[in-house]
């Protein structure tokens, strides 16, 4: 089948490109865009995919991950669509990629300068749990009125004794916009701060693009007496690789009923295991 390079027509790409440049110029602000129809359903990574398709070119090497895995159905399908329409190289190694599309994780390997990480976003509006109207949340962002976001965290502390948001933990970008970092675990939030690469976030169903440029201040919302804390994996060891201190998946051995852990970022785990003198 004959298709335009990178699937989207040039006018669609131009519109996404113009909006992306605005997003980079206004860190954390959700720029509305005319989300296009794609061969995958909205809500399955179309925002990220449109960003990737508008960015990708002949000299790129693409990596696509879904919750840390290069091999899940979603990641493979998206990677295939990108490759079928562009013939670009693919890789599983984070440092070899120029363009990384990811769902719900920032890779363990830190981003390099000029690398671009595209995150798929289901719900871009951090104020949505407290305010259903888009028109009103837009005004709240305009007025920098974030009491709702703070109150939500406060209520969690009152109810449960601690902040219970595990993923999609809200952040303040460049001291101005409260932003939903997409459902990455809290563990990944600090990686956004002063990072070397560019992070672009795309929400296809909600029709929003936003960005965190390199070397930008990104702070997770927290209170003085209830500081922001990441999940700790220091005393947990990956059963496959012996790694520790990285983000882990908790699994249950069906035969013994025992709980065990495996590193979530599979390509990182593989790289570590292939190193000479690795733990396993």
């Amino acid at each position: 089948m004959k298709q335009n390079y990178a699937f989207l027509d040039e006018n669609s790409k131009k519109e996404i490109r113009r909006k992306t440049l605005k997003a980079i110029a206004i860190p954390g602000y959700q720029v509305p865009f005319a989300s296009r129809e794609l061969p995958i359903a909205r809500g399955w990574g179309t925002g990220g995919l449109q960003l990737t398709l508008s960015l990708v070119g002949q000299s790129d090497t693409v990596k696509v991950i879904d919750q840390g895995s290069d091999e899940s159905v979603n990641a493979v399908n998206i990677r295939k669509l990108i490759q079928d329409t562009t013939d670009v190289k693919d890789t599983i190694h984070t440092d070899e990629a120029t363009l990384i599309q990811s769902r719900h994780r920032i890779p363990e390997v830190p981003l390099r300068p000029y690398q671009i990480l595209v995150l798929q976003v289901p719900l871009p509006e951090p104020l949505r749990p407290v305010e259903p109207s888009e028109r009103i949340t837009k005004m709240l962002h305009a007025d920098r009125e974030y009491s709702g976001a703070w109150l939500r965290l406060f209520e969690q502390i009152m109810k449960y004794g601690s902040i219970t948001d595990d993923a999609d933990y809200p952040v303040l970008v460049n001291g101005r916009y409260v932003m939903a970092p997409s459902p990455i675990p809290r563990f990944d939030n600090p990686k956004m701060e002063n990072n070397d690469g560019l992070i672009l976030l795309g929400a296809g169903r909600e029709k929003k693009i936003y960005a965190v440029p390199p070397y930008t201040k990104v702070t997770s919302l927290a209170f003085d007496d209830y500081p922001f804390e990441v999940e700790s994996f220091d005393d947990i060891t990956c059963r496959e690789s012996g790694l520790t201190g990285v983000y882990m998946d908790e699994l249950v051995d069906e035969e013994t009923g025992e709980t065990y852990y495996v590193a979530n970022d599979t390509s990182f785990m593989l790289e570590e295991m292939n190193k000479e003198g690795s733990v396993r």
């Binding site: 990178a6 110029a25 070119g57 460049n174 101005r176 560019l198 390199p214 070397y215």
Partner: protein
Amino acid sequence: MTTMVHNTQKHYRELVDLFSRPGEVRISTFDTPNFTSFSDATLATVLTLFDNEISFHTPEQKDYIEFQTLTGGRYSEDLSEVDYAVIKEHDLTGELMMTIKAGTLASPEKSATLIIEVDSIGEGQKYSLKGPGIKTVNEIEMTFDPKWMELRTELCSEFPLGIDLILIDRHNQLAVIPRTTITEVI
């Protein structure tokens, strides 16, 4: 094989890098027949970003007819509504700077982008740049009058309102100063 599709993609990626790293300089290698009074890099930027959804302003008739024909973008005399202004530094006026859109607090993206052609990037007035995308401090030298930079700073004083500048010189070098960047004459 490279076509216009690949050329604009490549140019866009340069712009992405430049927008996310204010003050960095790139040389554009975009090669296309150019019948405008602007440099090839300026034309490349126009071809990459313009289509029939945007409006633009440029002073000379021959240029706007060419831009319109090539991209379908809509030429407008009304500076207060244009999305892009393509202009040489010596044609800049205080009136233009103060009339163009700086966005609204609810929709700061509804602001104009200025594509300014200067004589040289690499020599001239020295500026220090700070802000998102810059690790500590970046320095850039260019023949861009500090009085325009001052007006730009004024327009960008109430973030997120402001304008973004794409600066291009006659030798196809590009640099970007988005609204978040704090500039200082040194």
